[in-house]
């Protein structure tokens, strides 16, 4: 008679399966949290962000972890809703005891979660754009890899000046950054001798913008600054065309999507300028994100969360301790300064272990931060719509 295996043993063994293969590290894993918009309005970005964070964590763990400990990553869905995010953050902070939370996307989510983080000395790495975020009294516990409105609108205004804009009218969807965005744009235009002809903030849920467009065109601008999302941009483009506007139009790349360009005739969309903060496409870290996602042009947020995870592990290694305070005190020591430039967190860990200083340059950009947690600079992509597709003008 052969060996007998009871059904109970098989069942018990199969329950234990998920827990196998986690050993190999002497000490307990370092808990790290991610709050991503897996569903809801940010659902287009959350899943790839989560995938990048998981893949990078797995790679760091397979090469020996940090301080001899593995990273235990817990990803929570915020449904792009601040209340759900607060519950998720409570769970990560109080139950998982995470040292940092990475990858919050919506500005409302980041603002809602931030107080829980700074009160519990948990570092928060976000990809949200609202300027108000880094103005919160966060005591250094927020790091933002997304360029704020100030940086973005300043660069947009320079582009418009270079391309001969003299009188720009702003049509902005009601968003946390609508007002700041326009004010900064108008200020930079003014220094270049051009002017803001006026601006209107509209409700993006409308199905027509005829009255807004009427007001805008009455100011006789040569350029429209369309601070829109994709659905309202589509209507704005069609209706400004119908209203006979023949000047330039400038918008954000996340609004000028292929879907919008495909939905409208080329004669309507041709010449539409759009721009976006660009990841550093020349960086090895960017190629790593491409490899993880298996696509050529990963979105900026996936690149940013790659940097979030890298910054966390490098700061922990530099501190020699895994805590929110350790990351808080060391994140700028590994991301800027005169140390050796690295784009690969695993290579960075080796250099730190050898007692060297490093300067992490990531997939999203140089990752140098101001005292309030904003990035100092990054690259921007400018493109123009031609025959229903966006053509890259330049990255700079």
């Amino acid at each position: 008679m052969g060996p007998t295996v009871s059904r109970r043993a098989v069942f018990g063994g199969s329950l234990a399966l998920p827990f196998l293969g986690r050993s190999g590290f002497a000490a307990a894993p370092i808990p790290l949290g991610a709050i991503n918009p897996l569903t809801g309005a940010g659902g287009a970005y959350g899943p790839s962000m989560a995938k990048v964070a998981q893949a990078l964590t797995a790679r760091i763990n397979s090469t020996g972890g940090v301080l001899g400990r593995s990273i235990a990553l817990d990803i929570e869905d915020d449904q792009t809703n601040p209340t759900v995010a607060v519950e998720a953050a409570h769970k990560l902070i109080d139950v998982n005891k995470v040292v940092a939370i990475v990858g919050t996307w919506a500005s409302s989510v980041t603002t809602a979660v931030a107080p829980l983080c700074w009160q519990s000395h948990t570092m928060l790495f976000c990809t949200s754009g609202a300027d108000s975020i880094t103005k919160l009294p966060h005591h250094g516990y927020i790091i933002r890899t997304q360029p704020n409105t100030y940086l973005q609108s300043g660069r947009a205004a320079q582009f418009l000046l270079q391309h001969g804009a003299r009188s720009v009218f702003g049509l902005s969807a009601q968003t946390p950054f609508a007002v700041d965005s326009w004010n900064r744009l108008a200020a930079v235009l003014k220094t270049g001798g051009a002017s803001g002809a006026g601006d209107i903030i509209y409700d993006p849920k409308q199905i027509s913008f005829r009255s807004e467009i009427g007001k805008a065109l009455a100011a006789k601008p040569d350029t429209l600054f369309l601070n829109s999302y994709a659905p309202d941009l589509e209507i704005l483009l069609r209706e400004t065309y119908q209203a006979g506007f023949s000047g330039n139009r400038f918008t954000f790349a996340y609004a000028a999507t292929d879907a919008v360009l495909q939905a409208l005739p080329a004669s309507v969309t041709n010449g539409l300028w759009s721009f976006a903060p660009s990841p550093d496409v020349a960086s090895p870290a960017y190629r790593a994100v491409q490899a993880i996602l298996g696509i050529n042009d990963p979105d900026p947020y996936s690149c940013q969360i790659y940097d979030h995870v890298s910054l966390v592990v490098l700061a922990i290694a530099r501190a020699g301790a895994a805590s929110g305070v350790a990351i808080h005190d060391n994140v700028r020591k590994i991301s800027q300064g005169t140390g050796e430039k690295v784009s690969d967190p695993v290579a960075g860990l080796k250099l730190l272990a050898a007692g060297k200083e490093i300067n992490y340059e990531g997939a999203s950009g140089p990752c140098d931060f101001t005292p309030s947690g904003d990035i100092v600079s990054c690259k921007f992509l400018f493109q123009v719509a031609e025959n229903k597709h966006n053509k890259t003008l330049f990255i700079s």
Binding site: L38, P47, A50, P82, L136, Q174, P176, I201, D203
Partner: protein
Amino acid sequence: MLDYLASLAVFAGIYALLGLGLNLVWGLGGMVNLGLAGFFAIGAYASALSALHLHFPLVAASFFAMLLAAAAGALLAVVTARLKGDYLAIVTLGFAEVIQLIAGNEIWLTNGTDGLSAIPAPGRGTLSPLAFDLSSAGIVWLVLAAIAAAFGRLSAAPYGRVLRAIREDEMVARIAGKNVLSFKIGAFSASAAVMGLAGSLYAAYDGYVAPDSFDVLVTLLVVLALTAGGVGRMQGALVGAVLVVVLTEGTRFFGGLLPGLSALQVASLRQGVIGLFLLLLLRVKPDGLLPERIRVHPLDDEGETTR
């Protein structure tokens, strides 16, 4: 872990308050008030703004929130007095949308989609996060107990019987000499006041309100909670709210047990499991976990109710 449980208790208590408010108009009065998120938002913003700009303490801010929400409730009751069923549901849902749009667009008042942050609350900043969560949970559940007791009394009192009569047949209630409109206005205002109070407690606890917080998701959750708990029973609202929080939060912990699934698959599965559980629950217990009990007097030989 205790902080987390305390924070869940706070959220469950807030959902239960919303459930109680909904139960008064829907469960007893039969008026489907899907404007819940709107009253919740009015309460939250009224409390947050009065605390931030007028330095109202939480109690005063909460009374202000209740007053404003009750006034909005009375107004909505008058406007919708002749609507019933689906039509009332649509109009009240529209009301909630309008409030969310106002919160998003009247920047001078609400700070737009940026929201209002750093809303003061008793103990924030001075207590440790754990102590703050525990004391908040205590406050919310004390308030909840008081409201639940009051609504329980109201439900058993003649007032509750009239509301039920209006629910069953408005014409009969009117023929019996009841002023249906004033009862509707009363029930709507009382329900809105409790929802406003829930909003005030939410704003104080979270320290941050933004239009995103008051989308249709809140309404859905509370309607689900009340349906699962039992429409018409005040305890049903409490049980339902706890059940929904246990379900939504409990499922967070299963993701780790499912290797080989992407984060998106786990998130989607989680919402699927919650939906499936509620469907099955209502299949097995169509009237919810705690169905409404209506006292029926037995008939005597002549077909009259006994006394």
